[in-house]
């Protein structure tokens, strides 16, 4: 029982970040039909900004730690949203629906952004002091308060996104464009604006993940790239462009990683994940919740 709860807790911790990361990637694919290789750069940008704003706010402005972190979170998300809008309007809007062109463009962007982070921050890992110290014990399994907060906030953000997609006009527009861009345009939908919003929401989700992970893991200029490959696997399993699929896929990969990592070793778990996804694609190429083209 104790082991089971501990593994469940680990799964939720890993899974909540994977879900946020993969949701942005799948949303961008759904709306723009592009694979954004630079998605990890949004995560890294947010995490790096948190590591530089928190010391500034606490030391120079004299704010308490929690307020400094909150300020840093707002600043990081705002900067990443601007970065997303910039990247979209300077680059991606010219390669919409061009799979190979947008792929190579996003790789170019990733190189530029990673190089810029390295030039600004240097390669050394940076960290933030613990925001919520202490541990919580549930059914004998221990969980740090920070990680519990991470899971709760990630769940709220995911729920909010789900409501946005299902209940609002913007969500309806995003779904319509993802389903059939031309039909949506014929109904008078401003495709380029919807695509911009979709791209910014995706970037914002990556930024949330970066903000939440900054106090837990040390941040380096390539932190976000570690999630990228797993996020690709998640969106293949869930079905490219499927929001619910990204959530299911993210949790599934987190189960494989935490259970596999516990009973075997982490690289065996990663290998198992890749082999699983290949087998999966053979049986169901369109993913769990994807639609066949």
């Amino acid at each position: 029982m104790e082991l089971f709860v501990q593994l469940l807790a680990n799964t939720l911790q890993i899974g909540s970040v994977y879900v946020l990361f993969a949701l942005g990637l799948t949303l961008i694919f759904g709306v723009m039909k592009i694979i954004n290789f630079a998605h990890g750069a949004f995560y890294t940008a947010a995490a790096l900004i948190v590591t530089s704003v928190v010391p500034f706010a606490t030391a120079t402005l004299g704010l308490p730690l929690w307020a400094g972190y909150l300020l840093a979170a707002i600043a990081a998300i705002a900067v990443v949203l601007c970065l997303g809008a910039l990247v979209y309007s300077l680059g991606f809007q010219y390669v919409l629906k061009d799979l190979n062109g947008s792929f190579i463009l996003s790789i170019g962007l990733l190189l530029v952004l990673n190089g810029a982070y390295l030039a600004i921050y240097g390669g050394a890992p940076r960290s933030v002091p613990q925001i919520l110290p202490g541990t919580i014990s549930i059914f004998g399994a221990t969980l740090t308060a920070q990680r519990l907060a991470l899971v709760i906030v990630a769940a709220i953000v995911t729920g909010g996104l789900y409501l946005l997609i299902e209940r609002t006009r913007l969500g309806l527009a995003l779904r319509a464009v993802a389903q059939d861009q031309e039909a949506a345009m014929l109904q008078g939908m401003p495709y380029r604006r919807v695509a911009l919003y979709g791209f910014m929401i995706g970037a914002g989700l990556a930024a949330c993940a970066g903000v939440l992970m900054a106090p837990i893991n040390a941040v380096t200029p390539v932190s976000g790239d570690e999630f990228l490959i797993k996020a690709f696997i998640i969106i293949i399993i869930g079905g490219l462009g499927s929001v619910a699929g990204a959530i299911v896929g993210g949790l599934f990969i987190a189960v494989v990683e935490s259970v596999g990592g516990y009973f075997f070793d982490p690289s065996t778990a990663t290998l198992a994940m890749f082999i699983l996804v290949i087998v999966f694609l053979l049986v169901r190429p369109q993913g769990i919740l994807g639609n066949a083209e």
Binding site: G91, G108, A116, I229, V277, L281
Partner: protein
């Protein structure tokens, strides 16, 4: 203006020039640079070869690694003769790619791209997990036989150039036209009785044989290989060569590989700025010159012709 056959003759002259340079140059840095440029040219051309059927095959990097590991394992661990290992490298890469293609080519577009990406990572992880082939540190000690050691760069350049011409020949043949038909709309070739899945697999296999040979030659040229040499990034750089040289013309990837490899030597070692430089070149090319360098040359030529009239 140049017609097609004079273009081919210019390329033959360039290839002979490269072989002679590799044979006569005394500085080992320059000869290995020529081998490296041609290796990259084969990688980029093979990537473009599969783009003929409309698929972006990241696993090009994996088959390059399989070629290199095949040559290294048979040479170092089994002690088989040099020529046999060089024949086995493309054969093993082609065989495994047939299996890969048969399994994965049911998917297309983004799914194929992502699955080829995953396969590349799986194969790299398998190298790192297998202690018999050196795990993370890889294999050391692939040397060409003493008798041809001095001529090895010239031999490698000649074989790589021949591979490039072979890929070009296939593209110009009827088979190349069938590949093009699949890219445009695979329902039409199917409707006239062509076996589309077989043709797609064949396209991937031909490209894999080419990069498998390049991988085997790379193992002997470098004397040491490690799993980190064969990440997906190899294919991404190859894609950059294709895009910058020009996707629309068989010479594009060769030109892109030559230009970027040479410039890369110059910016190498200034870590952060190297990334920024490569990235900026890629972004600028995709946005401003979608036809790459070859596309730019064609545009310039048509301008000259128009103003001359």
């Amino acid at each position: 203006m140049l017609n097609r056959s004079s273009g081919v003759w210019i390329c033959v002259a360039l290839a002979i020039g490269a072989v002679l340079f590799a044979l006569l140059a005394t500085n080992p840095y320059y000869t290995s640079l020529v081998v490296w440029i041609l290796t990259n040219a084969v990688l980029a051309s093979a990537l473009r070869f599969v783009l003929q059927i409309g698929e972006l095959n990241i696993a090009t990097a994996a088959f390059f690694g399989i070629g290199a590991y095949t040559a290294a394992i048979t040479a170092v661990l089994f002690g088989w003769p040099f020529w046999l290992t060089l024949v086995l490298a493309p054969l093993v890469a082609a065989t495994l790619s047939a299996l890969f293609g048969w399994v994965t080519l049911r998917a297309k577009g983004p799914y194929f791209l992502l699955i080829s990406f995953a396969v590349t990572e799986v194969i790299r992880l398998i190298y790192t997990q297998t202690n018999a082939i050196g795990g993370n540190s890889g294999l050391v000690g692939m040397f060409p036989p003493m008798a041809i050691d001095a001529y090895y760069p010239a031999l490698a350049v000649a074989l790589l150039a021949a591979t490039l011409f072979a890929l070009y020949g296939v593209e110009r043949s009827d088979l190349g036209r069938m590949f093009m038909a699949i890219k445009n709309n695979d329902a039409i070739p199917r409707s006239v009785g062509l076996n589309v899945v077989f043709l797609k697999v064949l396209c991937v296999v031909i490209a894999a044989a080419a990069v498998g040979l390049a991988g085997g030659l790379h193992a002997y040229a470098n004397n040491v290989i490690a799993p980190a040499d064969f990440t997906y990034f190899v294919a991404i750089l190859a894609l950059a060569y294709v895009k910058i040289g020009g996707e629309g013309h068989p010479f594009g990837p060769v030109l892109g590989a030559a230009v970027l490899t040479l410039v890369g030597q110059w910016v190498a070692g200034i870590s952060a700025w190297e990334n920024i430089f490569y990235g900026a070149v890629i972004v600028a090319t995709v946005l401003a010159f979608p036809g790459g360098l070859v596309g730019l040359a064609t545009r310039a030529r048509s301008l000259v012709i128009r103003s001359g009239q």
